[in-house]
């Protein structure tokens, strides 16, 4: 009997048999393929030693983690990420040769880097002279946990005149970030654990600001920082806490040389703890209170009866990202140093490394191993004129705009170093330092902008001759209106007082006899990603 398809019973069985054979055959082939793959995998995994590239570390504590190289059950959530920034400037200081000039010499001289008073760890730092900087951050993780390793260089070997290991820092940061958004309702917890850096008092809206100086402080070390944020209506309560230490201490007897960034055996193993409390209003207005204490209690550093050193900073800041009214940041910080010479670079105050940096740049060498205080007040205001004028219409930044900024910083130093100069003026104690500046840039086309910057710096209130002003017109080339890349061609003219002071040597030391450059030209390439 034929069925509706016209197949006989026998034919149906024959067809079924053929199909079964094909399916079984295919299954058998698949199984064979699986076995083949398994064998291949097994062969790939067989080894009498560790694979090249395995980390040179012992078993991780606890033994509950999959080992390095072991496939995790769910790899799909994890992904690789790459971020970074580069800033590579050609900088030329222009000057004239003093004294006799031979026939083999030119009267005009060219200096790279320029001989100007723009040193990052001093109060006089304006960042007008662009500095080489490259940062590569490699991350791998998912939405809960991310591991990040950061490579930083403050030069590029191909462009350096000699090899300075401290400028090629290699892997500077290696840390794990945990994002825990659902621990409780309206709560977000973020923790960083490992070797990393935190900066507080950044005057820029997203970065360190025009002075490139965190006004409250920077913390460098290995440890943890936890930030917990709790949303409460229009308010966000932000609490941060961290503790960090250093891996090691410069051993006694190590020569203080360039290759080790002039290691300081006087500094002990240093630690820092820091606590912060902030209140945010609609994520636009943030008020913060900050407490940072770095200390050392190392008998190798503070030997015999020498007291242990501390650097304590108490600060408050206010940030207002006020939509069309621009961005304002203001902060006040009081840093108190007591016998701070034994505190290492775990903390940076005004970019000065630990106690030694404070002594060298602010407190003086006879300040009872770094005893004194700094009161610093600073602020920055940034405004988009187009955004303001177009308000209440929205402005997306993709047309002409005039971006304006004003910024300033004031520091008063009190020190145990009562040294005076020949005229009876204090050199360290009671000194006021002030710098103010303004910047404007007009975006003419999507690829071109021009502008300028003015700076006034008074690094030593008792020595008006050290004051200087900088005028810096510049043109900017970029790939689009809202690009993250730009090439800046800048000219800077330095107007010095009667007694300008620049540095020379290695390490850099004040050199009153050096004639600073009055003019500088720079061409810098900037991009982040």
């Amino acid at each position: 009997m034929n069925n509706y398809l016209g197949f006989s019973h026998a034919a149906r069985w024959a067809l079924l048999g053929a199909l079964s054979t094909a399916v079984l055959g295919a299954a058998s082939t698949a199984r064979a393929e699986d076995k083949k793959d398994a064998k291949k995998d097994a062969a790939a995994e067989v080894g009498l030693g560790l694979a090249p590239g395995s980390p040179q570390v012992g078993t991780l504590p606890g033994g509950i983690q999959p080992s390095y190289g072991q496939r995790s059950e769910d790899e799909t959530d994890y992904r690789f990420d790459y971020h970074g920034m580069l800033n590579m400037p050609l900088r030329v200081g222009l000057n004239k040769r003093t004294g006799p000039v031979t026939s083999d010499q030119s009267k005009n001289v060219l200096h790279a880097p320029p001989v100007v008073p723009d040193y990052q760890d001093t109060f006089g730092y304006t960042s007008v002279v662009p500095q080489p900087y490259a940062q590569l951050a490699f991350s791998y993780g998912n939405n809960v946990v991310t591991g990040t390793a950061v490579i930083v260089a403050r030069t590029a070997s191909t462009a350096s005149s000699f090899f300075q290991p401290p400028l090629q820092s290699g892997i500077t940061d290696a840390f794990v970030t945990f994002n825990l958004p659902n621990l409780a309702k309206n709560t977000h917890v973020e923790a960083n654990v490992g070797a990393f850096s935190n900066a507080y008092g950044a005057m820029g809206e997203y970065d360190l600001g025009h002075y490139g100086t965190p006004i409250i402080g920077r913390i460098n070390g290995v440890g943890e920082t936890i930030a917990a944020r709790y949303g409460l209506g229009d308010l966000v309560i932000d609490v941060e806490q961290g503790i960090q230490a250093q891996f090691d201490k410069a051993p006694v007897g190590i020569p203080s040389e360039g290759w080790n960034a002039f290691a300081d055996p006087v500094a002990g193993t240093s630690l820092v703890h820091h606590e912060h409390l902030g209140i945010g209003y609609r994520r636009q207005l943030t008020l913060g209170l900050h407490y940072i204490q770095a200390w050392s209690q190392d008998d190798r550093a503070s030997q015999a009866l020498a007291p242990d050193g501390t650097i304590t900073t108490l600060a408050a800041d206010l940030r207002f990202s006020a939509s069309h009214l621009g961005h304002f940041y203001g902060a006040a910080a009081l840093t108190k140093a007591e016998h701070a010479a034994s505190v290492g670079r775990i903390v940076q105050t005004m970019n000065a490394d630990g106690g030694r940096g404070l002594i060298h740049n602010y407190l003086g060498t006879n300040s009872q191993e770094g005893t004194g205080s700094l009161l610093t007040i600073g602020g920055e205001y940034n405004l988009s004129l187009a955004h303001l004028l177009l308000y209440p219409r929205t402005f997306d930044g993709k047309s002409h705009d005039l971006v304006l900024s004003v910024f300033g910083m004031y520091t008063r130093v009190q020190s145990k170093d009562k040294a005076k100069d020949a005229d009876g003026n204090w050199i360290y104690d009671g000194i006021n330092m002030l710098k103010v500046g303004a910047e404007g840039a007009y975006t003419l086309t999507s690829w071109f902008a021009f502008g300028g910057r003015l700076d006034h710096v008074s690094p030593q209130s008792e020595f008006p001759g050290r004051d200087f002003n900088i005028v810096s017109p510049r043109v900017i080339f970029r790939s689009d209106w809202q690009s993250r890349d730009q090439v800046v061609l800048q000219y800077s003219h330095f107007l010095y007082g009667k007694h300008p002071l620049v540095k020379s040597g290695y390490p850099l030391q004040d050199d009153p006899n050096l004639n600073p450059d009055a003019d500088m030209i720079s061409l810098s390439a900037n991009m982040w990603w």
């Binding site: 790459y82 920034m85 800033n87 050609l90 031979t102 083999d104 010499q105 060219l110 200096h111 790279a112 880097p113 590569l136 490579i151 260089a153 590029a156 462009a159 005149s161 090629q168 958004p181 709560t187 960083n192 850096s197 507080y200 950044a202 820029g204 809206e205 997203y206 970065d207 490139g212 965190p214 930030a227 209506g233 308010l235 966000v236 941060e240 912060h276 609609r282 994520r283 636009q284 990202s321 939509s323 069309h324 405004l383 988009s384 955004h387 997306d396 993709k398 971006v403 900024s405 910047e439 502008g451 890349d485 730009q486 090439v487 290695y506 061409l523 390439a525 900037n526 991009m527 982040w528």
Partner: protein, 546 residues
């Protein structure tokens, strides 16, 4: 006056205070209409009433609650001008940006061998040396590059069709194989630059490279500097810019203009050296610059041709740190002259086709006190000091005139015999190469004045299997026309293993034999005496690019 200031402040702040609230409300309203895609990955999204501006950066747009900068934030100040989006600010569009990872690695296990004159019973008569103790050091005139050394370069690109950032990490001595830590062997960030390639304007296309990088002119290879590993015209390196313009005159003919300026990021400071960890630099060395300009043409077709005229000048005019360097008895740095080296050159190359790939280049350099220069590689020498020791002569501080001519020709029999059908190397092939460099020196140093130097060589490689090829190379080197006993020959057979016909990698097992003359000696910085030179070497070289 103070009252006036207060009044101005009040006038500015009052509208801000009065409009702030309505601004929030308006922003929020407009956001809900216009910026539906905007998300803020922050706590309590539902609970906090947030006014989110459009993505992109305009001052006043930050909506991230944080009391400090993230550990990811770069430690650099705001970008000049405030017109670029600051780091981590939300972008308006992704802009088509992509990450790309490229690189090159070549690591070589090289052992040179010699015999010990008077071995004890506890000593082998045959000695093994790694690093090889031969005449062949990087960039040396006497070098034939027969056994290439190690170089590892990791290249990280991020960019779109208009702009791209490039950062290269590199080393010439991978750490695992080091017997001692030579700090300067790890370059870390060796190059970091941006490349702008805007859309062509009509027939004019433009490329602008800005940052820290290297240019090469007069390379004899199709993609490299050639068999002798030395650019004939010059290679400026440092921080600066190079602008290239190409104008298409017709479909097949273009003219090319190129210009660049480079300098150094720093100068060696007094008190810095001499130290072994940084190759004993001298603070008496001034900071140098390079300016270069080029014009050339490109002709496409069955036999593509490219040629150029080149001008490069490497100079310094720096009065700092004029203290005499005791190592340079031939220059009094207390009255240090401004050093300079001007190079003019020309090259012509035939790009890979059925007739082969070839290039010829010539350069003429006029150097004055070139020992003090840095920032330009000339004929393999990476600094003025090395160039002076190898080529210009130390008497006179590197004051000399040099003519260099180089040529290289590579011929693929497979490509030739398959023509007019295309052959892409995916089958057996015999490749023949000939190459030569000739140098004539007129120097203030009598020992170098009038010297004629030449080296020439040939190589034949038979690619018989996808995974195997065999090669043989012969070089003849005459480093000093004033002493024919310095002349020597080199033979180097090789076995080459790889994964496929056109693979990116290869493993090369090579044997190299130097047939030295009686007076053959090493060159700076390895001035081996004839008795110290090893005459044979076994090398296992691993290379791959991606």
């Amino acid at each position: 006056m103070r009252s006036c200031l207060k009044l101005v402040a009040l006038a500015w702040a009052l509208p801000a205070a009065l409009t702030a609230r309505s601004a929030f409300a308006d922003d929020a309203a407009s956001d809900s209409k216009n910026s539906g895609e905007v998300k803020v990955a922050e706590p309590a999204e539902d609970d906090v009433k947030v006014t989110v501006p459009a993505k992109g950066y305009i001052p006043g747009s930050r909506r991230v609650v944080s009391l400090g900068l993230s550990p990811h934030a770069p430690r650099s100040p705001s970008l000049p001008g405030g017109t670029a989006i600051p780091w981590s600010a939300p972008e308006a569009e992704d802009g088509g940006f992509q990450f790309n990872f490229g690189g090159y690695m070549s690591a070589a296990a090289r052992l040179s061998s010699n015999t010990r004159p008077r071995p004890t019973p506890d000593q082998f008569q045959t000695t093994l040396h790694g690093l090889p103790q031969t005449v062949d050091v990087y960039g040396a005139l006497q070098g034939t590059n027969a056994p290439p050394g190690s170089w590892v370069e990791l290249r990280f690109d991020y960019g779109n069709s208009i702009v791209k950032s490039v950062v290269k990490l590199s080393t010439w001595k991978p750490g695992r194989a080091q017997s001692w830590i030579e700090t300067s062997s790890q370059n870390w960030v060796n190059e970091a630059f941006l490349v702008f390639s805007p859309a062509p304007i009509g027939d004019l296309s433009l490329k602008w490279t800005v940052g820290a990088f290297r240019n090469i002119y007069g390379g004899l290879g199709q993609y490299g500097v050639g068999q002798y590993n030395a650019a004939i015209i010059g290679s400026p390196f440092g921080v600066g810019e190079t602008l290239s313009l190409q104008y298409a005159v017709s479909d097949s003919f273009s003219v090319i203009f190129e210009h660049g300026l480079m300098g150094r990021t720093g100068k060696i400071a007094p008190g810095e050296g001499p130290n072994t960890w940084d190759h004993e630099p001298s603070s008496a060395e001034p900071s140098s610059f390079v300016h270069h300009a080029h014009v050339g043409f490109s002709l496409t077709g069955d036999v593509p041709l490219q040629g150029g005229l080149h001008y490069l000048t490497n100079w310094a005019q720096d009065e700092r740190d004029q203290t005499d360097d005791p190592k340079t008895s031939f220059i009094n740095e207390r009255h240090r002259p401004d050093p300079s080296m001007n190079v003019v050159g020309a090259d012509l190359r035939m790009i890979n086709n059925y007739l082969g790939n070839g290039a010829i280049a010539v350069s003429y350099a006029d150097a004055k006190f070139a020992h003090l220069l840095s920032g330009m590689n000339y004929f393999g020498a990476d600094s003025g000091e090395i160039l002076t020791k190898r080529l210009l002569g130390q008497q006179g501080g590197g004051t000399a005139k040099v003519l260099v001519v180089g040529a290289e020709y590579n011929f693929s029999w497979g490509k030739f015999l398959w023509y007019p059908d295309a052959f892409w190397g995916d089958g057996p092939d015999l490749i023949n190469s000939v190459f030569a460099d000739v140098v004539k020196v007129k120097s203030d140093d009598p020992a170098f004045d009038g010297k004629l130097i030449y080296k020439l060589g040939t190589e034949a490689t038979y690619r018989m299997l996808p995974w195997f090829a065999a090669s043989f190379r012969y070089d003849h080197v005459a480093p000093n026309s004033k002493d024919s006993k310095e002349t020597f020959n080199v033979i180097s057979p090789k076995l080459i293993f790889r994964s496929n016909w056109n693979s990116h990698e290869q493993v090369v097992l090579s044997y190299t034999r130097w047939l030295y003359g009686a007076h053959t000696h090493g060159e700076a910085p390895n001035d081996f005496m004839p008795s110290e030179l090893d005459d044979q070497m076994l090398a296992l070289n691993f290379g791959m690019w991606w």
